[in-house]
């Protein structure tokens, strides 16, 4: 660990005590869900208060450990016994909830629809069912929307949010703005313009002629009908989207960018960190996860491995001769030689990767005070104890 880290930890730890929203984001598969859950556990154990982890795609055993068995948006409290089992004591309350996209969309419609009839009509519309279930990056939008909803209810001191696996790590940041743009678009007005005016309006005529040919009048009609219904919720949606955007930019919110030190995810994470800064969003920490152990990088160990590889035959013979009498498995010197070759080659392999990763980290153009490394755990992290151990690496 770098010597500067002693001074950087307090500020990182302070985030857990001072922020109201912590968003874990980054490329796919790097440990966002795990980090978000670990942050929740750390906050509950160290700082108390009421903490919610809003998670997206926990591994099954992690979900089970957190008590997330059913589906739906329900918030569950992680029982004190679960902490006790892991040898921990929670000062506050840890709650967890899973994001159910479809359910959240339905709730959103129910909230913004002007009346019950419109609500039911939208919910029953086949286009709506398709959109909410499958299309328009609805996952990204709904995650941010739900965060806003829960935050504004004010039931929690800290909400830690896991982000969905997006095509692009920035999608969820742009989602509220995109949704607002969509509703204010001139093109949307074309779509919901009465059928008669479409073909006489100079601007829309070519569009409609082509659209008719490609999509058919009927489908176009379905689309229009759907958006005419949606239009009734226009103001609510736009206002809401903007509010979500403001909340993300607020000082109460901080972002943890999670990555591994592999070059592809790291480049994406670095870009993301820069982008957060240029949008004046708060970059709380850059968590480098799954970092290979430091002992792999030593040059003396490399010398040892080279010697073992080069002189495996001789070393195998000597070890077998000297230690064989006391240790039966060492009596076959050829076998000892093979093992020495294998382990030295394996060390040098891992060293190549560890050194490359160390270099990647050194070259990062991110302020060093926000950088944290989390070692690669050789067991999977699927209970409170594991999450706490991982959390300690980040926050202690």
């Amino acid at each position: 660990m770098a010597p500067t880290e002693a001074s950087e930890r307090p500020s990182l730890e302070r985030l857990l005590a001072t922020r109201e929203i912590m968003v874990a984001c980054g490329p796919g598969g790097v440990g966002k869900t795990t980090t978000a859950a670990a942050a929740g556990v750390m906050a509950a154990v160290k700082h108390g208060g009421k903490v919610l982890v809003l998670t997206v795609d926990p591994a099954r055993r992690l979900a089970t450990a957190l008590g997330l068995t059913g589906i739906g948006n329900k918030e569950h409290r992680v029982p004190d016994e679960a902490f006790a089992e892991a040898g921990l004591k929670s000062r506050g309350e840890l709650w967890v909830a899973m994001l159910d996209t479809k359910q959240s969309w339905d709730d959103l419609i129910a909230r913004h629809a002007p009346d019950e009839a419109t609500r039911d009509e939208i919910l029953a519309n086949p286009l709506y069912q398709n959109i909410s279930g499958r299309f328009i990056q609805s996952h990204d939008y709904i995650a941010m929307e739900r965060l806003y909803e829960i935050h504004s209810e004010g039931r929690y001191d800290l909400i830690v949010v896991d982000t969905p696996p997006t095509r692009n790590a920035l999608d969820f940041l742009d989602a509220p703005e995109r949704m607002a743009d969509f509703f204010s678009s001139r093109l949307l007005r074309w779509l919901i313009m009465p059928y008669r005016s479409r073909l006489v309006n100079v601007a829309t005529k070519p569009f409609y002629q082509i659209a008719d040919r490609i999509l058919g009048t009927e489908f176009l009609g379905d689309i229009s009908e759907f958006f005419i219904l949606f239009q009734t919720m226009y103001d609510g949606f736009v206002e809401r989207s903007r509010a979500v955007g403001r909340l993300l930019a607020d000082r109460r919110t901080t972002f943890l960018v999670v990555s591994t030190l592999e070059s592809v995810p790291l480049r994406e994470a670095e870009f993301f960190a820069q982008e957060l800064t240029s949008r004046h969003l708060h970059l709380g920490a850059m968590v480098m996860n799954k970092v290979l152990p430091e002992y792999l990088r030593g040059s003396e160990a490399a010398d040892a491995a080279h010697t073992m590889a080069e002189q495996a035959g001789e070393l195998g013979g000597l070890l077998s001769e000297r230690m064989g009498p006391a240790h039966e498995p060492l009596r076959d010197s050829a076998q000892v030689t093979r093992v020495l070759k294998e382990i030295s080659a394996s060390f040098l392999n891992f060293q190549t990767v560890a050194l490359r990763e160390a270099e990647e980290r050194d070259e990062l153009s991110v302020a060093p005070e926000v950088m944290v490394s989390v070692p690669f755990f050789d067991t999977e992290i699927h209970d409170l104890g594991g999450l706490y151990r991982l959390g300690e690496q980040i926050w202690e």
Binding site: R167, G216, Y295, L315, E342, S346
Partner: protein, 315 residues
Amino acid sequence: MNDLLDKKLLFVTGKGGVGKTSVATSLAFLAASRGQRVLLCEVDGKGDVAGLLESPPTAFKEREVSPGLFAMTMDTEEAMKEYLRLNLRVPFAGRIGPVAKAFDFLASAAPGVREILVVGKLCYEVREAHYDLVVVDATASGHIVGLLAAPQAVNSLVKVGLIRNQTDWMLEMLTDPAQTGLVAVCTPEEMPVTETIELAGRVRNETTVNLASVVVNRVLPELFGTQEEEVFETLTRPDVAAELELLVGSDTAPVLEAARLAVTLRRTRSVHLDRLREAIDPSVPLLYLPYLFTRSHGLRTTRQTATSLGEELGY
């Protein structure tokens, strides 16, 4: 024994970071090196393909990046323009720009339109026989079902019109296991394996595409057999370790510790491999690719992975 490369259209998917781009690129590279004319299309264009082939950046317009291997990046607005140009006659030619923009908007409003453009462009390349094989570095497993199910969804929502007629032949192509296949990439870890098993189910229930193969990437080597493992355990005993250090003349502890790490990792991961093997239909071949301990990832690793894939496929 394996006809993976005899298909016309392969979609490569998997959880983020498992190696979709590496596998798609290597598959395309392998097919091209066997004399096929191949198009590699990056759908979530981040430019990683160019890095792995050490080529200039890819664009919507395909470019031959190595003999027989053409690479492109999907761009829905460009695909829309191409579609309009191909399907509509002269009167609109000059106005394709603004009309395409309007359609791009429509595509974000109307379910499935954007997806159908992507799939449509790929199917079109196959139908026109511009290539022997089209390999798609597709979206992550969370989005792939939406992409592959789009022709069906549009088919059921749209009753008439050009798009409707086109989904018919597209569906025919996508449904034919001899032509189209999905390649699911995972790593031997809990989440990727679980996601792959779930994906296999969803693909079966919600799409018409066949799961052609599962690629397990980043498989760690087995260091030793049982007897050798016993030797290794003995080497870590304090008296033996001290003797080894004395003989070698420098600190050997990290070397032993690293071997311990390798053994543990291999062991915890094999549980997930067993789970995968059990859950995936035995008729779907599992291909294993080794973890690459290299200084960087580029043309050299693409070649290595292509070779490993070739061996797994029995070439």
